[in-house]
């Protein structure tokens, strides 16, 4: 992790009509950092991530991702980032190698490069035996590992992971986090959301959102100390409760 900023967020506000989904968010994310983005359902995480990925426009404030202004050139941002969600990440009726080729092509990689790097990737993941299998026929754990590898295939500066380990077995969940560590050690910034509170502890820094605002942002150890709790989970429950359903 270095001091070079890859995401800069200043006074980000996003409104839907009169509803304020993001209420003056301000924070920076550094190169090679594993940045955990936590919050209750409906706290405004997805809204913010969509803005960082260039998929949605901000109402006011300033957001720079990989050096690009999110208000001015959201399309440019898409080329510089990787994205993986728990819901949809790979085409089930394409094979493993076809999916990799498709994503490489979308990101404008040359065919020659795609071919060499596909081989390296399949070997690194120990996936060579699955090369010609349809995604549909792979167990969830393998699919999620492959989806992550595909999301960083084009060497993005940042990869956004939205609940990547949801429902995955405990062994694969750990292997997945090792892939995250390894990716970050190569200088790729990892921006991740999760409902597993133990995973929050794997992050370099964690931010917690509540009702559109950032209510905590620090290293897991510092947060535990500041709020006097023994785990990030306890702290999460403490600061996002009591909650009233007011949406």
């Amino acid at each position: 992790m270095t001091e070079q900023k890859v995401i800069e967020v200043k006074d980000l506000v996003k409104k839907f009509g009169s509803f304020v989904a993001n209420d003056h968010l301000t924070f920076d994310v550094y190169k090679g950092e594993i940045f955990g983005f936590l919050g209750a359902n409906g706290a405004g995480k997805t809204t913010a991530i969509r803005i960082f990925c260039g998929l949605s426009r901000l109402t006011s404030g300033k957001v720079t991702v990989a050096g690009i202004d999110a208000a001015r050139s959201p399309e440019e941002i898409k080329k510089r980032i990787g994205y993986m969600s728990q819901r949809f990440s790979l085409y089930e009726d394409l094979t493993v190698s076809e999916n990799i080729e498709l994503y490489g092509g979308i990101y404008g990689m040359r065919m020659k490069e795609i071919i060499t790097r596909t081989e390296q990737l399949l070997e690194r993941l120990d996936f060579t035996q699955y090369r010609d299998m349809l995604i549909r026929s792979l167990p969830l754990g393998l699919r999620q590992k492959l989806a992550f590898a595909v999301a960083v295939f084009h060497d993005p500066e940042i990869v956004f992971l939205d609940e990547p380990t949801s429902g995955v077995d405990p062994i694969t969940r750990r292997q997945f986090w090792e892939m995250i560590y390894e990716t970050a050690s190569h200088g790729i910034t990892v921006f991740v959301t999760t409902h597993y509170m133990d995973e929050a502890e794997y992050c370099d820094r964690v931010t917690i959102m509540n009702e559109g605002k950032i209510v905590a942002l620090d290293t897991p150890a510092a947060l535990r100390q500041t709020f006097g709790t023994s785990s990030v989970e306890e702290l999460f429950v403490k600061i996002t409760r009591p909650k009233t359903e007011t949406e």
Binding site: Q86, E163, D169, P220, V232, R241, K243, E245
Partner: protein, 305 residues
């Protein structure tokens, strides 16, 4: 404790894939029984068989002595089923959905309101809202209210907390504890291992097989070795170091610590100094009580061998 659910030698396949393999268990009356396992373990197939929705290839389940295949008509009014995927009518309002479920079971909201009150009153202010426009946590509460409105004897809840934030999950388990006090038998599945502690008994399930059944406490004590938590601020370096130090065995990351077992005759202090030699000075090694996830990992690794 009389028995509410008995499952014998259940096997089910989808084409070549075996979803359940020779599964057997029994659940006591008024028990809160959890099935703990990841996606693809067979939980949904098992619950759909229990809810009389699919016929098992082999074996059978009885609820209160009634067979889910032969006696499905009689059973359906005694079962409340909440599927994993939100399955209410998105274009009906909250109140219309609840009314619909009450009516098809030949009852009314008013008659059983006392049962759903603690849950339903939290979403009642939004009763005119379309179900499709609710937040995740509110959908979950409405689905539970609909599964309860005919006052079932058994609740079958398929992953009610998946994708739900940590706070709403805590609230949901408090609601289940309240329903248990009303005398309802509950089977519930979850991929979150920490939720196991909220159940009377649990079955650990993986790849269609039950790895073990017991109270959460006994399951934790079934861990075969002494377990230690190792901490150092450089978490990834620590994990890699522990893999290369033969004194430490089966290191697994668990939040802020790495859990390890120690080779015979190795003291925590010996591991601390070995880590110091690997440039991880100040590492702390402490004996801990194993959690459900530690046991699950141990059982999974044993299965693999």
């Amino acid at each position: 404790m009389t028995t509410a659910i008995e499952a014998y030698n259940l096997t089910h396949r989808y084409g070549k894939i075996t979803a359940l393999e020779d599964v057997g268990f029994s659940v006591g009356n008024n028990e809160l029984f959890g099935f703990i396992g990841p996606d693809g373990a067979g939980k949904t197939t098992l619950f759909r068989i229990a809810a009389t929705l699919i016929i098992p290839a082999e074996g059978k389940i009885t609820l209160f002595g009634l067979d889910t295949v032969k006696d499905y008509r009689e059973l359906r009014s005694r079962i409340g089923y909440m599927p994993g995927k939100f399955s209410l009518y998105q274009d009906l309002t909250v109140e219309e959905n609840l009314n619909f479920y009450a009516t098809i079971f030949g009852t009314s909201i008013k008659k059983n309101y006392y049962l759903i009150e603690p849950i339903y009153k939290q979403i009642e202010p939004f009763k005119k809202r379309l179900a499709g426009k609710l937040s995740g946590g509110m959908k979950q509460k409405l689905a539970l209210s609909c599964a309860l409105i005919h006052k079932p004897d058994i609740l079958i809840l398929d992953e009610p907390t998946t994708g739900v934030d940590a706070v709403s999950r805590v609230e949901f388990w408090e609601m289940l504890a309240g329903l248990k006090r009303e005398g309802i038998t509950i089977i519930v599945s979850t991929p979150y291992m920490d939720e196991a502690l909220r159940c009377d008994r649990i079955a650990l399930i993986q790849s269609g097989k039950i790895l073990g059944i017991n109270t959460p406490d006994i399951v934790r004590k079934s861990y075969s070795r002494k377990l230690y938590a190792v901490k150092h601020p450089e978490k990834y370096k620590l994990l890699l170091a522990l893999r290369s130090i033969p004194l430490a065995q089966s290191p697994e990351p668990f939040g802020e610590a790495v859990h390890v077992t120690l080779a015979d005759d190795v003291t925590p202090a010996a591991l601390e100094s070995a880590l110091a030699e690997a440039r991880l000075t100040g590492s702390v090694v402490e004996e801990i009580i194993p959690g459900i996830e530690d046991v699950f990992l141990e059982l999974m690794q044993r299965e693999k061998r």
